[in-house]
């Protein structure tokens, strides 16, 4: 086996040498031209809400027009992931807000002057454009009819209505400039407070299961859903002026292209672009409107058919779930065998794999993104899925082996079988049903969890789900959710089928 492999490798080497000679020149030319066209596309990140998508699309086209190909990784999971990705050079640009930069990234809320902020950011090799124009601050919004009925127009008016039900985004609930200090400043004592996804929050407002939620002041949904933004009468919210953050190492013309967008987006225009993006479900088209309004040409890329998108998402999804499952089996079964022997090591293995399971997915991703090998790649998603998939396999392998009756074990020992032969010929086949059930659980979990890959721009069926949640567009959500559910069922069935081949007949009587 080894010699065959070696021979194959040598053949491959020779073939490579031949082809190297033959293709040397064209490859060199190709490389040269690629370098001239500045090679790899710049990667632009965006957060998972419409405005961020639109701004990223605008940046993408501004860069492309300047001859720098750019790629948009849309809807990545929150400030920390984007910042870590930018800091470590895995993305080149993303849209951010000055308030968020001071509060969340630099952790110095008092820092307001752009010079001070720029100096701080430069330490991480990050630059900031001038303000794009609009201020997208936080606002608390209510249904117009409910606000009028309760005579609420300012945030201080809420003090007299502790019965109102608040549905706040998780980020807002935990931010330095979010709910806890806001409630402190306004002395609000709400009885009913829950965390809810931003897109779903609008749905919840509409069907009256909450009364107040946080929103961004340029959010087109405020007008669309007939909501009112309450006046921040104590001037609590900081300024959230939109800017682009970028790597300082970008070529000067790239920074110039971004800088040309500065000052060109006032609040009215941004609200209009957001509304267009949400109406058409097409961020690139909204970005196109921006360039047309400026009298510039806009070459929109050919739009992809639904079938081809579904195929791309599904293939990527299966790739992520499949590779991570394979790794989980390769690592999990031996770990399970070790764990089945009990003792300190066995308990430690089970404890660690269980602990991994309790890390929230976003936190796990945020931990992995700054690590050089991982970053905002499929590798990070695979690593996270692998870690989540480990526990069912380790636990089932261990318990399947431990459940083998004592007389069977003793018979195997008394026969004189070596410990390796006992494991291979007796214990593992006997535990195969339980082990396979663990692998099946992992596979189904992985198919479901692989949607989180979209949070770090790694694609898969999570892409339409996150995008649809943000647009509050059920059709788009279902484009991801239905294939994911079908995949989970198919995986379940194929494992049921696999049972017949893997589990020995004597155990299926």
């Amino acid at each position: 086996m080894r010699t065959i492999r070696k021979a194959g490798r040598q053949e491959g080497k020779q073939a490579r040498r031949r082809s190297t000679r033959r293709y040397c020149l064209p490859v060199f030319l190709l490389l040269f031209s690629a370098v001239c066209a500045s090679g790899k596309p710049l990667i632009i990140g965006s957060k998972k809400f419409t405005e961020s998508y639109v701004l990223a699309e605008i940046a993408k086209h501004a860069l492309s027009d300047g001859g720098l190909p750019a790629e948009h990784r849309q809807g990545m999971g929150g400030t920390i992931i984007l910042w870590e990705a930018l800091r470590t050079g895995q993305i080149a640009v993303y849209p951010e807000y000055t308030g968020t930069i001071a509060e969340e990234i630099l952790k110095s809320p008092a820092m307001v002057s752009p010079e001070a902020i720029r100096a701080e950011l430069a330490k991480a090799g990050v630059g900031m454009t001038d303000e794009l124009g609009f201020n997208n601050t936080y606002a608390l919004v209510m249904r117009r009819d409910a606000a009028e009925k309760a005579r609420i127009s300012k945030i201080s008016d809420l003090r007299d209505h502790p019965e109102l039900r608040f549905g706040l985004t998780h980020e807002f609930l935990n931010r330095q400039d979010g709910w806890p200090p806001l409630a402190g400043r306004y002395r609000l004592a709400q009885r009913d407070l829950k965390g809810i996804d931003h897109g779903l929050g609008y749905e919840a407002l509409r069907n009256r299961s909450i009364d107040v939620k946080d929103a961004y002041s340029t959010d087109a949904k405020i007008a669309e859903n007939n909501l009112v933004a309450l006046e921040d009468d104590l001037r609590f919210f900081p300024q959230y002026k939109a800017v682009f953050l970028h790597r300082l190492s970008l070529p000067a013309e790239a920074i110039g292209s971004l800088q040309r967008i500065a000052g060109s987006l006032d609040e009215a225009r941004m609200i209009r672009l957001n509304a267009e993006a949400e109406r058409t479900k097409d961020y690139a088209r909204a970005a196109g409107s921006y360039f047309r309004e400026r009298g510039e040409t806009f070459a929109s890329g050919g739009s992809e058919t639904l079938a081809s998108k579904l195929l791309r998402w599904t293939a990527r999804h299966l790739q992520l779930a499949g590779i991570s499952l394979l790794l989980a089996v390769i690592v999990g079964v031996p770990l399970g065998i070790m764990a089945s022997k009990g003792g300190a090591i066995g308990h430690a293995i089970l404890a660690v794999t269980s602990a991994v399971q309790t890390i929230p997915s976003l936190a796990l991703l945020a931990l992995l993104v700054p690590v050089p090998f991982f970053g905002i790649s499929a590798r990070t998603a695979i690593a996270a899925l692998f870690l989540y998939g480990l526990l069912p396999i380790v636990r089932n392998t261990a318990s399947g082996l431990q459940d083998i009756a004592q007389p069977i074990r003793e018979s195997a020992i008394a026969l004189g079988l070596t410990s390796g032969a006992r494991l291979r010929q007796i214990y593992l086949p006997m535990a195969s049903r339980t082990i396979l059930a663990g692998i099946k659980t992992s596979a189904v979990i992985n198919i479901g969890t692989a949607t989180l890959a979209a949070l770090i721009g790694a694609g898969g069926l999570g892409e339409p789900i996150i995008s649809g949640l943000n647009l509050n567009d059920h059709a788009t959500i279902l484009q991801g959710a239905i294939p994911a559910a079908v995949l989970a069922l198919l995986v379940q069935w194929s494992f049921d089928l696999l049972d017949r081949f893997v589990i020995p007949k004597g155990l299926r009587l």
């Binding site: 003793e410 020992i413 008394a414 026969l415 032969a421 004597g506 009587l509």
Partner: protein
């Protein structure tokens, strides 16, 4: 039987003892098991009779003393080779449920690299010897009756023609008719093979029927040994009388 008292014993326990957390399972004990004989270890539950078998096959490590097999001192180092020379049958067979009867029997021989022809020949002999129906060889343990399972277990134990056969209450889980049939067959097999065997039972009738030499144990000690007649006619203690009379009606009915 042909062996003489001074012949070298097949297996010998010298001051062997075993303690568990719950107490002493076997006090320091000396025992000799003669070649070609069936020795029966008998006594009430917890008397240490199964412990002796498990010490011999080294499922348990003795706390003290040593065990000699054919004059060689047994140790964890040479136990693997030794186990191939010993067959072991337990109460519910201990058959591997994922293997057919055939594969259970030839598992070890195949592991040791015997040819398929050798395996088939040996399997034929064993099926005839144990009166196991050839057509049932391809069934799984779950498809066999209790008696058939014990016959497979016996075939498996005999597959490598062991010098010593250990049987730990092999009939305890069987109904009386099946048990009687198997006991009769086993006696025949032992006689035909001149098999050295150690049988553990708590049933005096079975001991009387199969045993050449009987060792009576109680609370981790050998109380008395000899022929059944010796135990009955010259009991060494009150316990011997009690144990025999408790089962007398069955044994000598």
């Amino acid at each position: 039987m042909t062996n003489t008292p001074d012949a070298k014993p097949m297996i010998e326990l010298l001051d062997v003892s075993k303690n568990f957390e719950a107490g002493t399972a076997l006090h320091p004990t000396n025992l000799r098991f003669a070649r070609g004989q069936t020795t029966v270890l008998i006594g009430p539950s917890g008397c240490g009779k199964s412990t002796i078998l498990r010490l011999i096959i080294r499922l348990l490590e003795p706390d003290g003393g040593l065990i000699q097999f054919d004059g060689d001192r047994m140790s964890p180092k040479n136990i693997a080779e030794f186990r191939h020379r010993v067959g072991y049958v337990i109460q519910d067979g201990g058959l591997f449920p994922h293997l057919t009867a055939r594969d259970n029997v030839v598992l070890m021989a195949r592991h040791l690299g015997r040819t398929e022809v050798e395996l088939i020949t040996r399997l034929d002999e064993l099926a005839t010897l144990t009166r196991f129906p050839a057509e049932a060889l391809d069934r799984y343990p779950g498809q066999l009756s209790g008696g058939q399972r014990q016959r497979v277990s016996l075939m498996r134990a005999l597959a490598l023609s062991p010098e010593l056969l250990l049987l730990d209450e092999p009939f305890a889980a069987l109904d009386p008719l099946v048990r009687a049939g198997l006991q009769k067959d086993l006696k025949e097999i032992f006689q035909r093979l001149q098999q050295t065997a150690i049988l553990v039972t708590h049933d005096l009738a079975e001991a009387a029927f199969l045993g050449d030499h009987i060792v009576l144990l109680n609370e981790g000690r050998v109380i008395q040994q000899g022929l059944l007649g010796d135990l009955r006619d010259r009991p060494g203690s009150e316990f011997v009388t009690e144990f025999i009379s408790a089962q007398r009606s069955l044994a000598f009915a």
